[in-house]
Amino acid sequence: MLNRAHGRSPWLLAPALLVGSYQSLAEEVERWKYNMPEGVTPVSQNIHGLHMEMFWWCVGIGVVVFSIMLFSMIFHRKSRGVKPAHFHESTTLEIIWTVIPVVILILMAIPATKSLINLYDTSEADMDVLITGYQWRWKYDYVDEDLSFFSSLSTPREQIEGLAPKGPHYLLEVDEPLVVPINKKIRFLITANDVIHAWWVPALGVKKDAIPGFIKESWTIINEPGVYRGQCAELCGRDHGFMPIVVDARTEEDYRAWLQEKQAAAAAIRELTSKTFTFDELYARGEEVYNRSCAACHQVNGEGIPGTFPSLKGVGVAVGPIDHHIDVVVNGVKGTAMQAFGPQLSEVDIAAVVTYERNAWGNNMGDMTQPIDIYNHKQGN
């Protein structure tokens, strides 16, 4: 039912109602997401409870006030020949409708305060994950496990541009989800590398701003295994709408197995650094890296966006000395959107993307660089 290339027309609801078949109606209601999810953590369930409580208070007050207004609008019309009354003041009434709301507010504030105190208790965590927002992807650092990786949108461009049908998790899917164990208190340490982002997963009830230069804390305990999806919630530039979050909660065992696999893969990448690649290998890998990490700004065709992101095609650094090119990619350009990719990409990937940029789009510089050169550059050699 989510497999639609386009949003189904809302007018389809009407026939569903007319046919009156209970089943299709129930399906429709299910399809129209209209409320906050209860979620899968004690915190999200608690927030959902508060939300519903507030909602019913508001409905109650609304019903009273709007009924009185409606009553006047129906029965106190001039067209019914009603003569207006003349009262225009009552201190008693004013006091009553000041005091009653205050009492209601106190009733609302008590559970909210309790909930907030609980939310702020980040002590005694079983594990820490450092989350860093980048334009426009997330980096996850398993602080005690010597493991870190980036997590970027994996929805193909064709789906976004309407050239292919949209998948079931359109815009809410990533190449590398954050995998965590269930029933463990996980502390999130949240920060950013460039602008402010916000890490938000509704089903966990966690939303925290990721602020460059500062680390903010939040936590969660997930009750059920499952895949939970969220999005960046603070405007962070062009691709703000395209930096989803996927949390994959697994049993302790499955989590351990995954961890080992990841650590082995990371070791293999380190191995690759000392290997020598052919031009074609680098070029092919570079194209992939470029489209994933660079094309958002410099564009797939290398022409950038005039005034904001420079063109790499036939001008500037990409057709200049190779050392400077490596330096720009590894260390970035301070004070601009061009970040330092040295800490973000592996040596292999940087060598590949530099090689690609120097030879793609008709640049044809004919030169290349090896992972070991990048390693040496990073070491300051």
Binding site: I47, V65, A112, I160, G162, G237
Partner: protein, 516 residues
């Protein structure tokens, strides 16, 4: 002393007449309203379906930014200043504003500010694309070059607002007719007096924050840059110290307007005049100590979080008092439903709904789920569109016969009302749902689970936009060919403005009236 207006363009360029300047403010505001509306329709067109179809995400961000800036600073604020110009002197029995030359100046710098802001759309790198809240460092280190022009435009708008506010305060405090004591002033005058103080208090703060941005961008300071010892959250504190009172700047005069209209068409005096004044003053006071409720997710200390939550909840009390007073005014009245009354009743109901979602947003733990979603977008559009825009529209219908001497067509007015009312609800009500379901604001593309609500919102938005074109037509046709209005216009309206002929002569109250 009594003489008519100058002829030709000079009349408008050099005028110091409060009625001329009021009209210019209102026309300018309407032009900005249409421009900001076009920006909004670009947004809604892109969001009609999932996928990117019409604009590039960067341009989408420019649209959300420009829509917000133009509506807040170009449409709503100048409209209220225009109404103040027209009505405050007439309501307090003054011949003109206290500082007429400054009045001319505070209007005439506005078109330059907005010409500059709009021109950024054509600059290399595009217009500001960091949201109308322009959080640093997205608006500093990462901003397009046009940000400098944006800063300059904000400075000019701020100067205009401050001058307007000084003028209004000087007028109200010094130029009331004999016998017009403070507690006899119409509520519109009261609410504007308080609004003007808010403006003087917070516009300099806005000027300060954009100047700090300018320094960070061009002169190597690090106010908002952690690497240099600054703090991006500092920006948000300063911005919202301006921004929250700003929200009340856009709604207090609206309270004054409906407090004039509801009694007229209920044929019954306003209930609880004094409590209305005190409630307005309390709201103004509270508006200074709640700013961080826009920042519940930045990770403030628990004590701060609790303080701002409680203070924000408290605002519900004086706001509730106002709603109860309007309801009590209608109760046992003798009601008729002319266009201004329809807009005012819709104001009370829909503004209250916006107040409810505001109360929900005040609950900090729940705000962790609501923050920066379409639920917030629904909330502030429910307080601003039926709040500010409907009240301004009601005011135009209510006083247009006095300004122009001609009556609008009631059938047309009511058609406009129903189109706008339906359009507004169809546009903004579904946003509560898409927000709760998890759609973040300011995104150009979204998952299919939000598709249905977005399509409905987009249809509503075009309906609402169309209704405003009808409004333009109604106003013009009234001025050109409406039937003659009587001096009193309505059955038994209260206030000095109804004691002068329709249309109001170029100079009114050259000799002060006697107020009993």
């Amino acid at each position: 002393m009594a003489h008519g207006p100058a002829k030709g363009i000079a009349r408008w360029l050099y005028t110091t007449n409060h009625k001329d300047i009021g009209s210019m403010y209102l026309w300018f505001s309407f032009a900005m309203f249409l421009l900001g509306g076009v920006f909004a329709l670009v947004i809604r067109a892109e969001l009609f379906q999932p996928g990117l179809q019409i604009v590039d995400p960067n341009f989408f961000n420019q649209m959300t930014t420009m829509h917000g800036l133009v509506m807040v600073f170009g449409a709503v604020m100048p409209a209220f200043v225009g109404l103040a110009n027209w009505m405050v002197p007439m309501m307090i029995g003054a011949p003109d504003m206290a500082l007429p030359r400054m009045n001319n100046w505070s209007f005439w710098i506005l078109p330059f500010a907005f010409a500059m802001l709009t021109s950024t759309l054509f600059m290399e790198g595009g217009a500001p694309n960091f949201g109308w809240t322009f959080y640093a460092p997205l608006s500093t280190t990462y901003a397009p070059p046009s940000v400098t022009f944006f800063i300059f435009a904000i400075h000019i708008m701020g100067a205009s607002s401050i001058m307007g506010a000084i003028n209004i305060i000087a007028t109200i405090l010094n130029m009331r007719a004999p016998g017009m004591t403070l507690m006899k002033m119409p509520l519109f005058v009261w609410t504007w007096l308080i609004t003007a103080y808010l403006l003087i208090a917070v516009m300099p703060v806005l000027a300060g924050v954009v100047t700090m941005m300018l320094m960070d961008i061009h002169f190597g300071t690090s106010f908002f840059n952690a690497a240099g010892g600054g703090d991006p959250v500092l920006f948000q504190h300063i911005f919202w110290f301006f921004g929250h009172p700003e929200v009340y700047i856009m709604i207090l005069p609206a309270f004054g307007i409906v407090s004039a209209i509801i009694p007229t068409f209920s044929r019954k005096p306003l209930f609880g005049y004094a409590s209305m004044v005190y409630a307005t003053a309390s709201i103004a006071f509270l508006s200074f100590i709640v700013w961080a409720h826009h920042m519940f997710t930045v990770g403030m200390p628990l004590a701060g979080e609790l303080f701002f939550m409680y203070a924000t909840m408290l605002i519900a009390v004086p706001t509730g008092v106002k709603v109860f007073n309007w309801t009590a005014t209608m109760f046992k009245g003798s009601l008729t439903f002319e266009t201004p009354m329809l807009f005012s009743i819709a104001f009370v109901i829909l503004f209250t709904i916006g107040g409810f979602s505001g109360l929900m947003l005040a609950i900090a733990p729940a705000d962790f789920q609501y923050h920066d979603t379409y639920f917030v977008v629904a909330h502030f559009h429910y307080v601003l569109v039926p709040g500010a825009i409907f009240s301004i529209t009601a005011a135009v219908y209510y006083w247009l016969p006095k300004w122009s001497g001609r009556m609008y067509s009631e059938v047309m007015g009511k058609t406009h009302f129903w189109l706008a009312f339906i359009g507004l609800n169809v546009t903004f009500f579904p946003m509560h749902f898409s927000g709760l379901a998890g759609m973040p604001r300011r995104i150009p593309d979204y998952h299919m689970m939000f598709a249905d609500w977005n399509m409905i919102s987009s249809i509503g938005a075009f309906l609402f936009g169309g209704a405003q074109v009808l409004f333009l037509y109604i106003v013009i046709s009234t001025i050109v060919s409406g039937r003659k209005a009587t001096d009193k216009v309505w059955e038994n309206p209260e206030g000095l403005e109804w004691t002068v002929p329709s249309p109001a002569p170029y100079h009114t109250f050259s000799t002060p009236p006697e107020v009993k």
